[in-house]
């Protein structure tokens, strides 16, 4: 048999090594002092466009808050009631002319980054944009109590409200980032989402837009003339990663300096083990729940065959060991919420009355309702129908899938057959909105106030919106309405909220599973780090990297 004789031995290639050597000779610059820091933030999301009026993505907010200013912003206390805890930004001061008329005086030093002064006309223009139906701002409904915004002179702007309520000031300042009317006035209202400005914005904030490489990174540079003080970090770079795990990997490898949240226990352990990193816990804005559908799947005119029964829902809730689920999935990084609330809410009260975890009582209730295992197959049944339902869960959320499986097992022990409908996120949304589900595992990220999210998701006003399960109870809604509108004071409002939540808890429209505790990780050279829980980069302009801790990344010049 013919064979080939070897002609020459293969020699090992050294190209890779020489390549690495070449790259090792990176340019090093010479920035020194207190204003040299560079912060690289790894994040799993990417802005769609940097026009805060038409995007409510969290990462858009994080970036836009460095470019555009609000009139004033929440304080570290997170108190949304009244105006005492708010910090001035564009407005240097404000006063109430009448109980429903709020007057802001703009800081005369404020400038757009093209040199023009920020004026009251910009504020009025911004309000006009945020409330224009053609623009379709996601924040439009949050401004519905503001009747008008007018200018008194070039630095004075007047907000008039439809009625008096505790969070008037919050509504006036929290949702709107003031926009430059001289640059945006010509953009047709119906085409704001396609405006070129959204990919190269000019703002009035502490940072200027530099570059945006889609799918890759976004860069801002400090505005050394910023009227509220030059930011210490001179450069901010967001690196976009496909998912959170890749972001954490970049952080651990030193390719990034910060991540907003370490979601899994594994990523927290990895970050904690790294001596270069500092960990910053803060309250999370998310809560998750198992929601029951009160209507027949896909037909809102008929009641659900199982979940119209209040006693059955209460039994199912009592059969769930929520504390064990939280420990299993989150470790110590979440709490069992006392109702539909994130830890951000100032109404969080562990004393709120809830249904207890009591499997024996749950089993007795089910038996009393006629649900018994008549055929010995381990599943309770009644009139020939098994006690079974399907649980909708999105495949894109590892946390929710894990919860769904654990819930399935806890219900199985009680003789309840749960089948999982795992679908991709778009399908999950579509089916949830259309009411095509028995039960679902959902998560909401909330505003800092209960006044928007709770009415949206748990009252009749949320039908066809985010009250997917179509829960309603007039007594609950009366109390919510009183809590939202009462001006009797924060304590009284908190008592009213608690009474409302207790009614809801007794109705068991959902099993409230978790409220997250966030953990951010940052390189230790970054100091003066303060994180406001509702917006982790809100105070970024005060963070710094001391001159004696600068690395090559901070010093480098281009």
């Amino acid at each position: 048999m013919p064979t080939i004789r070897p002609t020459r031995r293969l020699t090992p290639a050294a190209a890779l090594a020489s390549l690495v050597l070449v790259v090792g000779c990176a340019r090093k610059g010479g920035c020194t002092g207190d204003y040299c820091g560079t912060l690289v933030i790894a994040t799993a999301g990417e802005p769609d466009l940097l026009l805060p009026a038409v995007s409510d993505r969290a990462v858009t907010r994080d970036v836009a808050d460095q470019i555009f200013l609000k009139l004033a912003d929440l304080g570290l206390s997170g108190n949304t009631v009244g105006d005492e805890d708010f910090q001035p930004l564009l407005a240097e001061r404000w006063e109430w002319d009448t109980p429903t008329t709020l007057v802001f005086h703009l800081d005369p030093r404020a400038r757009w980054q093209d040199g023009r002064a920020v004026t009251a006309a910009d504020v009025a223009f911004t309000y006009d944009i945020y409330t224009d139906s053609l623009v379709s701002s996601p924040f439009r409904s949050s401004l519905r109590q503001i009747a008008a915004v007018t200018t008194r002179d070039s630095l004075t702007v007047v907000f008039r409200f439809r009625q008096r309520y505790p969070e008037m000031f919050y509504d006036a300042v929290y949702h709107m980032r003031i926009l430059p009317s001289h640059l945006l006035r010509e953009v047709p209202r119906s085409q704001w989402r396609t405006a070129a400005f959204g990919r190269a914005p000019v703002g009035d904030g502490p940072y200027r837009f530099v570059a945006w490489r889609a799918g890759e990174s976004l860069e801002l540079a400090a505005d050394s003339t910023f009227f509220l003080g030059r930011p210490h970090l001179r450069r901010l770079i967001w690196r976009f990663t496909p998912d959170q795990q890749v972001a954490v990997t970049q952080l651990i490898a030193g390719d990034a300096d910060a991540v907003e949240v370490l979601i899994t226990p594994d990523s927290r352990d990895r970050a904690r083990a790294d001596t270069q990193l500092a960990i910053y816990p803060y309250k999370g804005a998310a809560y998750g729940y198992l929601g029951f559908n009160f209507a027949a799947p896909g037909d809102t005119t008929k009641p659900h065959p199982l979940f119209e029964d209040r006693e059955l829902r209460r039994a199912l809730e009592m059969s769930v060991d929520r504390a064990a689920l939280v420990r299993n999935v989150f470790g110590d990084m979440a709490k069992v919420p006392p109702g539909p609330m994130s830890q951000l809410f100032w109404i969080w009260d562990p004393e709120t009355r809830e249904l207890p975890h009591d499997s024996a009582r749950a089993a007795r209730t089910l038996t009393r309702l006629g649900w018994t295992d008549s055929d010995g197959d381990g599943i309770r049944d009644r009139d020939g129908h098994p006690l079974a339902f399907r649980l909708l869960v999105p495949t894109t959320s590892a946390v929710r899938r894990q919860y769904a499986r654990l819930l399935q097992e806890q219900f199985r022990v009680m003789g309840v057959d749960v089948q999982l409908d795992e679908v991709d996120f778009s399908v999950f949304n579509e089916r949830a909105r259309a009411g095509r589900f028995d039960a679902l595992v959902n998560t909401w990220n909330t505003d800092p106030t209960p006044s928007s999210g709770i009415p949206q998701s748990w009252t009749r006003a949320g039908f066809g919106r985010s009250n997917y399960g179509r829960y309603e109870n007039p007594a609950f809604e009366r109390l919510v309405d009183r809590a939202v509108t009462s001006v009797a004071g924060r304590d009284e409002s908190k008592r009213t909220w608690r009474a409302a939540i207790e009614i809801l808890n007794q109705d068991a429209p959902a099993v409230f599973l978790f409220a997250t505790e966030n953990v951010a990780a940052l390189h230790k050279r970054v100091t003066d780090v303060r994180i406001r829980p509702d917006s982790w980069l809100a105070l970024l302009r005060t963070w710094r990297i001391p001159a004696d801790r600068l690395t090559d990344r901070d010093r480098v010049e281009r």
């Binding site: 390549l19 070449v22 466009l49 996601p138 770079i237 990997t249």
Partner: protein, 324 residues
């Protein structure tokens, strides 16, 4: 030749049209909506309705298709709902990244695969052949994303020799405008290209070894040796050229696969290419991007096959196409 080319081009256009049409129909019929929750926050029905109107999604599917085809014929690929920018712009940024990654991976795949295949064939049934064969089988059996994760863990995280992701250092090299930044880009490219190329190289080596062994047993090789031609020339000129035909077929299939199949590698290494763009678009029901990605993929498959046909002729003059 001209008639053949015309026939092939006509068939290619028909294939691309069919792929685009099927993709358009399937993605529009799929459950889900581009308007869902945003970062865990509810999107109001009013905003959804406005977006639906703005992007023409409230019109019948045939109207949308007609408009899409009309736009396509004028070079307009549409507007991305999720990225809020022209699809053409998004592709223009993603395609070069994917091309670079795929071409580099192709060089690794066929360069290493050919060399290993020839080397193994030259040492048939000896230790080196058996050992390399087993290693190649092992590597070929690895899922690409798993190999990527291993390389990432070892060479980026543990040893720190390579960056963990992205196509460049955003601080030093926001643009590839200097030799140092070219090197930086190559440095970032190494691990993803190796991941994508190594698995393919293992398969290519097995193909090449088998093809070489088949050829070296033929009479013309024996004749060449009998005439006193040097072994190196016998191997690399006479045998290799005849053993390339199966590889050309493989090449025609591999290149478009590398272009479109780099999804997992692009995800692991945060490489902003077509694969990542397409997957994100599918999850967000960003129809224009999904359809455009399918269009690009089908064009690549067609071009890959055309290139393979052309290369057949170069490798073997007997199958050069004559006119008509």
């Amino acid at each position: 030749m001209a008639a053949w080319l015309v026939r092939r081009l006509a068939a290619s256009i028909a294939i691309i049209w069919a792929v685009v049409t099927l993709t358009f129909v399937i993605v529009h019929l799929a459950h889900g909506s581009p308007c869902g929750q945003s970062d865990g926050r509810p999107v109001s029905p009013e905003v959804c309705a406005a977006l639906t109107r703005q992007f023409g999604l409230d019109q019948p599917i045939w109207v949308q298709y007609y408009k899409y085809l009309g736009g396509l014929l004028h070079g307009d690929l549409g507007w991305s709902f999720a990225l809020q920018r022209p699809v053409a712009d998004a592709l223009a940024e993603a395609l070069p990244n994917t091309f670079t990654l795929a071409l580099t991976a192709l060089i690794v795949d066929f360069g290493l695969g050919l060399a290993l295949g020839i080397y193994q064939a030259a040492r048939e049934r000896r230790f080196a052949d058996i050992a390399l064969g087993n290693v190649a089988l092992f590597v070929n059996s690895m899922p690409t994303f798993w190999l990527g994760l291993v390389l990432l863990l070892v060479f980026a995280q543990r040893l720190g020799w390579f960056p963990v992701g992205g196509p460049r250092n955003p601080i030093l090299c926001p643009r590839v405008d200097s030799l140092a930044c070219v090197a930086d880009f190559a440095w970032h490219l190494t691990l993803p290209a190796l991941t994508l190329g190594l698995v393919g190289a293992a398969g290519t080596a097995r193909y090449q070894r088998a093809a070489m062994l088949e050829v070296v047993r033929q009479d013309f090789v024996r004749t060449a040796r009998a005439k006193g031609v040097r072994e190196r020339r016998v191997l690399l000129v006479h045998a290799l050229r005849n053993a390339l035909l199966p590889l050309i077929t493989l090449f025609g299939l591999t290149f478009p696969f590398l272009l479109t199949g780099a999804v997992l590698v692009e995800t692991v290494f945060a490489w902003p290419g077509m694969g990542r763009l397409a997957v994100t678009a599918i999850l967000q029901r960003d129809y224009p991007i999904v359809t455009a990605a399918a269009l690009v993929a089908s064009v690549m498959v067609v071009l890959g096959n055309l290139l393979a046909d052309a290369l057949y002729g170069v490798a073997d003059p007997r199958i050069r196409v004559r006119g008509a």
